[in-house]
């Protein structure tokens, strides 16, 4: 088994090690929940303070142009595009993941009158399923079809919009984005990829892989802050053929002409809707900038190294935990999950020891490894703490407290 000293040696040789100091992490905490809410980049507080005090306070309404606010969704989108392997005119940072799923699934359905089915998998992230169900509820011609992940691409047909989360939020399983996209396309369908657990965690090359539509979160690995704006991607070739159902004024060809009649803006801009959230975009930009400063290949490789290490160490302890994340580096994201009947209590006991992962219904504990700030040594310590919690019965005492609180 890898020792703590070996982990420290690996940290010493890690080309990304210096990025940890670029984050403001609290003392006494091992933070393995960056896949839920990314940590705070040190630059963010100053950047936001400057924006609030100078751009808003002094610049006031003039900053929409003078400080580039009106360009922020495109500017931050273009930066995210570099992490996706997309063109800088193919991504917008705007709205929430949920709203962007709605836009793109609706746009994909309405682009082809033969499309009537949203195909997805059971257990997909709730908002993906719920938005799909809402779309079907409002249009009797549309139905939601569910298929297990093994057979999902083969279940697609000419009338299908496939809605999939690239890396599963619970298990960490990763779809082969290129293969699924190709198969679905060959069968006449189209895929909307939810990249919420992928961007900033694994290498993506949407152009190479032929992806046409995608959305994702800004507050997980991108470190954009709580409720950061999300992003959407529309491949260049599709942009002028698709129409957003949310035709807000900033998706107009000439928003400041204040014309009565809606005319969709050319290209990606038509997927804008309302006034962009400038504070949220500014925080998101700080997180994205850190990723651009690093190298996405190094980030992705280190994420897999940390996952491998954690799995190896937990394996070695022979704990009563069922690994539900693939052991194959290429088949997962940057988080590792285990099933246990008292998973909630186990995680509470771990958090009490300063190791913050999270719990997901039902019976799952999740550990996210954020390559820009997590270290090999703290991965070792987290595995140690998990071992202690499981063998000392600490989780059992916690489970008792949980039961006592509930009843």
């Amino acid at each position: 088994m890898t020792t703590l000293a070996e982990c420290e040696t690996r940290d010493g040789a890690d080309p990304l090690a210096h990025f940890r100091d670029r984050f403001a992490l609290p003392e006494g905490v091992i933070y393995l929940d960056g896949n839920s809410l990314g940590a705070l980049p040190r630059a963010t507080a100053g950047h936001i303070a400057r924006l609030v005090e100078t751009e808003w306070g002094d610049g006031l309404v003039r900053s929409w142009n003078a400080a580039g606010w009106i360009e922020a969704p495109r500017r931050v989108g273009a930066k995210i595009a570099r992490l996706l392997g997309a063109g800088d005119d193919e991504v917008l940072a705007t709205d929430t993941t949920s709203v962007n799923i709605y836009k793109l699934v609706r746009a994909a359905l309405s682009a082809d009158p033969a499309r009537h089915t949203i195909l997805t998998e059971p257990g997909n992230f709730p908002t993906d399923l719920h938005i799909a169900q809402g779309i079907a509820a409002e249009d009797p011609a549309v139905r939601v079809q569910m298929a297990p992940r093994e057979s999902i691409a083969a279940a697609a047909g000419p009338g299908t919009v496939v809605l999939l989360t690239h890396i599963h939020y619970r298990t960490g399983e990763r779809y082969d984005l290129a293969a699924v996209t190709r198969t679905v396309r060959e069968r006449g369908g189209i895929v909307v990829w939810d990249l919420s657990h992928s961007v900033g965690a694994v290498e993506l090359d949407l152009a190479r892989d032929g992806a046409e539509l995608a959305v994702g979160s800004g507050y997980k690995y991108l470190n954009g802050g709580p409720g950061a704006p999300a992003f959407l991607y529309v491949a260049r070739a599709l942009q002028d053929r698709l129409h957003s159902p949310l035709t807000g004024w900033l998706g107009h060809a000439e928003p400041f002409a204040f014309a009565d009649d809606y005319v969709a803006a050319p290209r990606i801009d038509r997927f804008m809707c309302g006034t962009p959230p400038i504070l949220g975009l500014a925080a998101l930009e700080c997180g994205v900038d850190l990723h651009l400063e690093a190298d996405m290949r190094l980030i992705a490789a280190k994420g897999q190294d940390l996952c491998d290490l954690f799995i190896e160490l937990v394996d070695g302890k022979g704990l009563d935990l069922e690994l539900i994340t693939p052991r194959d580096r290429g088949a997962r994201g940057s988080h590792v999950s285990y099933r246990h009947p008292h998973a909630y209590a186990v995680m509470q006991a771990l958090i009490a020891r300063g190791v913050i992962g999270d719990y997901r219904e039902p019976e799952v504990i999740r550990f996210g490894f954020a390559p820009l700030y997590n270290t090999f040594a703290e991965t070792w310590r987290a595995a140690e703490a998990l071992g202690e919690v499981m063998t000392s019965g600490a989780w059992d005492k916690e489970a008792f407290r949980v039961r006592a609180r509930v009843t």
Copy 2:
């Protein structure tokens, strides 16, 4: 004509005068564009810094519960409700005005199969018109009907969802909210009110006036910052009968059960969609808190006093400007607009003198009076500056520069 000395006396007697120091306004500027982007409350920078550094940086993912982030849309919504005359369980601070218009117009249409018409007025704020047109474009059964404001209530029928901006963004004209709501309701229709230029500017009593649905902006008179979250209001009696088309996970009855099937949350919560923008909500809360600390009756009365003063002073100068805002206090909001063939150049010349209002296509200059920070003396100085610009020909030189730049 009112003198500067008289204005200073009025400022001395103004019960809201001390609120001006609660805002961080730049030196040498008279800011009369708070109806577009409200000024920065002094408390906001510190509040945001604390949120970023302590709640996000130290609290990390734990702050969703420990710092009340998950409650923020309801908490801030309940505070806005007090400015609307609504119940604290009738308002959410969430998404953008455009997205909220979409939710409520769609919800109103789908609640009654007989409803097929969105009735609005030509020249309404573009996003209201554009969202309505987008809804009609996606459903052949729905049409957008336009009627002039004088006859709009009478044009409503049983199949009508009326979408109106309470105070017109360009002219400042104010609808009689109670009368229009009552007439439309008697005729079997329902009104969605856009309160973007009303909230924080005029007294509202949605409960007394029978309003059923409304939305509004957080970044104008509420001083919530650039692109602040918007709000939506759904009267208690309607909440469980309406369904949002945007069925994101946070509108689920049990979002953290992570269930596959969407079940709409009871009451107002079903109008939540994605993860709330915590930075934006925090800034918005600071702006709303200032309004709650003051008295909305005093705020609204002072706004009208400032508008009256400005109109009187501009009248007295005999300038070549056409007032397009009602002279009647009860028939307008808190901004005053004039038409001039070279309105853009006039406003540029004014801005060059430190008086910031704004220009709106076509041919309109707008002056917004924000009662919490604008003074009678600066209103007097703004009128003086406008007189100088108009009589000195400064606007003509500016018009020449504008033309030279365009050609």
